[in-house]
Symmetry: C2
Subunit: 311 residues, 2 copies
C-alpha cells in the first residue's frame, strides 16, 4: 500500500518524481503518516502536528534553530537533511581554498595584468596539508577531493577516531597543534555550544605559524559563521598572520554592507551558496526518496535528530 | 663518474639539490655534456653550442617559440619540460572551472550580499560533463580531479584513442558534437598549426547549445591563447551563449588594459599563473633530476622535442 505523505508548504518537480518513485502518495496533514517540510526555516510550520504524523523530514542540514524554536518534539521521529548536501558544500570548500591560494579576489578586482605581483605568491594546493576541523559528512566528503588534488588531510574530530583518507586524525583537544602542523584549514563542523567561537586569536596564530615559503595559510569556512571569532579573523587577515580566507557563512547573514571583510583582496566571499539551489532541490529529492523507502520498510532513517545533541 | 652539466643562465636551490641528488657536477659550457637552461625563454641563450653538448634541457613546457627561433638544432637531443607542470596547470583549470560555475568574479566585485541574485544561478561541478579539448598530459592530469569532483569527462584528441578515466574519447573531427554533448569545456591542447583558432563561433555555439537548466556552460583555457578566436568568445560571453570563461592565457600577453574581457563579471582572468613560481621551481628540479638519471644511464629522456611536430 502506498505511503501517505504531506508535503508542506509546497513541492517541486524533483520531489514529485521522488515521491512517485518511492511509491508515496501526497495527502493532507490529517491523513498522512509523514510530513516532508520543504521550507528552509520554521516560517509557516504547523503549530501543532496531529498524532497521526509519525515522522517529519526537514530540508535543513543544520537543526540548531529548529530545536531552539521548540518545533521538534519527542512524540515522533524527526529527520534533518544532514549529509544530503555534503558533496556540494565540500566542492565549494575546495573551490574557495583554490580560489584563495590562487588569489582570485585580487585578480578579479585588479582589471590589469598582475603577473609580476602574483606569480611568486600564488600557490598550488598540491603538496599542502589541510586541517579539516570537524570531520562530519562535509569534512569526509572533502577528503577524496583534497587527496585527488594532491593535498594531505589532518582530520580533527571529537573522538579522535581515525577518519579514512586523512594522514592523521586528532581530537579537538589538540586543535591548536593540528592547525600549527597544517598549511590551511577548513571549518566543517556543526554549530554547537562546544564549537561556538572555536577559532579565536590563539587558533589563528597557530594556523599562521611557520608559513610555507613565507606565505601564510588560508582559512575556509563553509560550516557556520559562529565557529569563528570574526573580529580576530579580520585582525589576522589585516596583519597577514592568515594569508587569506574563503567564507561562505557568517555570524550574521547577510554580512553587513560596511563589514571590513568585503574590502580585503585576500578574502573570497560567497553569500551562503555552497549548495546551489538546483543542487539542493535535486539532492533533497534523492535524500527524501531514500528515507521514504526506509520508512516504508520500517528501517532506520538517515539523519535522525537527536534532541540531546542539537545537530 | 659524475655527469658534467652546465646550468645557464643561473641555478636555484631546488635545482642545486636535484643535481646533487642525481650525482651531476656543474661545469662550464665547454666542459659539459649537457645544458640545463633555466631561462623562461630564449633571451641570452648561447648562439652556438659547442659540439660537446649532447643534450639541452629547457624549462618551458611549450616549445613552439624555441623551434621558431631556430635555436633547436638536430645535432643533439633537446628536451622540454612538457608534462613537468601538468598537475599544477590541471589544478588551475579545475579552480577556474569551479570559480566560474560559482561566479567568483561577480561575488568578488559585488561587495554586497548577492544571494537572491546568485543562489539560483550558481552551479555545482558535480554531475556535469566536461569536454577536455586536447587530452595530453594536462588533460590527462585533469581527469582524476574532475572524476573526484563527480564530473564526467569527454576527452578529445587527434587519434580518438581511448583516454583512461574519460567516459568517451572522440577525435578532433568530432569536436563540435563533443562540445554540444558537454556542459563545459577546458582547452588543454598544445599550440600547433592545427589547433590555431580551433575554438571559433561554431564551436562556441555548439558549447552553448542545450544549456543545462537554462545556464550555459563555461569555457576554460589554460593552454595557449591562440587556440581561441577571442573576438568570437567575447561576443559569445556578451550574448550569453557561453555562460562564463576562466582564462589564464591570451593571444597576446599581457592582455591589454582596455580589453572588454576585463570588465565582464562572468569572466575569471588570471595572468598566466597556472603554474605558480614556487611549484615551477620545485617541479622543474624534480623533472631535471629524473632526466639526469636517465641520461647518465643511457635511457630515453622524458619530453624529447620532435622537430617535425613543434610540441
Amino acid at each position: 500500500m502506498s505511503l501517505k505523505v504531506a508535503v508542506l508548504p509546497n513541492s517541486t518537480p524533483d520531489l514529485d518524481a521522488a515521491l512517485k518513485s518511492a511509491d508515496a502518495t501526497v495527502t493532507s496533514l490529517d491523513d498522512a503518516r509523514a510530513v516532508i517540510w520543504t521550507g528552509s526555516d520554521q516560517t509557516g510550520f504547523p503549530r501543532e502536528l496531529p498524532a497521526n504524523i509519525e515522522w517529519v523530514q526537514l530540508k535543513s542540514a543544520g537543526v540548531r534553530p529548529w530545536i531552539a524554536s521548540g518545533c521538534v518534539d519527542s512524540r515522533r521521529t524527526w529527520t534533518s537533511a544532514a549529509g544530503a548536501y555534503s558533496d556540494h558544500v565540500a566542492e565549494h570548500a575546495v573551490a574557495l581554498l583554490l580560489g584563495c591560494l590562487r588569489q582570485f579576489t585580487l585578480h578579479a578586482r585588479a582589471n590589469i595584468w598582475l603577473r609580476d605581483h602574483t606569480w611568486a605568491t600564488v600557490r598550488s594546493l598540491r603538496g599542502r596539508t589541510v586541517a579539516i576541523v570537524g570531520a562530519g559528512s562535509i569534512g569526509r566528503a572533502m577528503i577524496p577531493l583534497l587527496n585527488a588534488h594532491g593535498a594531505r588531510v589532518i582530520a580533527i574530530n571529537r573522538s579522535g577516531c581515525e577518519v579514512e583518507g586523512a594522514v592523521t586524525t586528532v581530537t579537538s583537544r589538540n586543535l591548536n597543534d593540528a592547525l600549527a602542523a597544517a598549511d590551511d584549514a577548513v571549518l566543517a563542523g556543526a554549530s554547537t555550544d562546544e564549537t561556538h567561537r572555536l577559532i579565536g586569536p590563539a587558533q589563528l596564530a597557530a594556523l599562521g605559524s611557520d608559513p610555507r615559503g613565507g606565505v601564510p595559510g588560508v582559512l575556509v569556512n563553509i560550516a557556520r559563521g559562529d565557529l569563528v571569532d570574526t573580529a580576530a579573523l579580520t585582525d589576522a587577515l589585516r596583519g597577514g598572520t592568515v594569508g587569506g580566507a574563503g567564507l561562505d557563512v557568517f555570524d550574521s547573514e547577510p554580512l553587513s554592507a560596511g563589514d571590513p571583510l568585503w574590502s580585503m583582496d585576500n578574502v573570497l566571499i560567497t553569500p551562503h551558496i555552497a549548495t546551489p539551489k538546483s543542487s539542493m532541490l535535486e539532492s533533497f529529492a534523492a535524500f527524501v526518496e531514500e528515507n521514504l523507502r526506509r520508512f516504508a520498510a520500517g528501517r532506520e532513517l538517515m539523519a535522525e535528530i537527536d534532541l540531546n545533541r542539537s545537530y
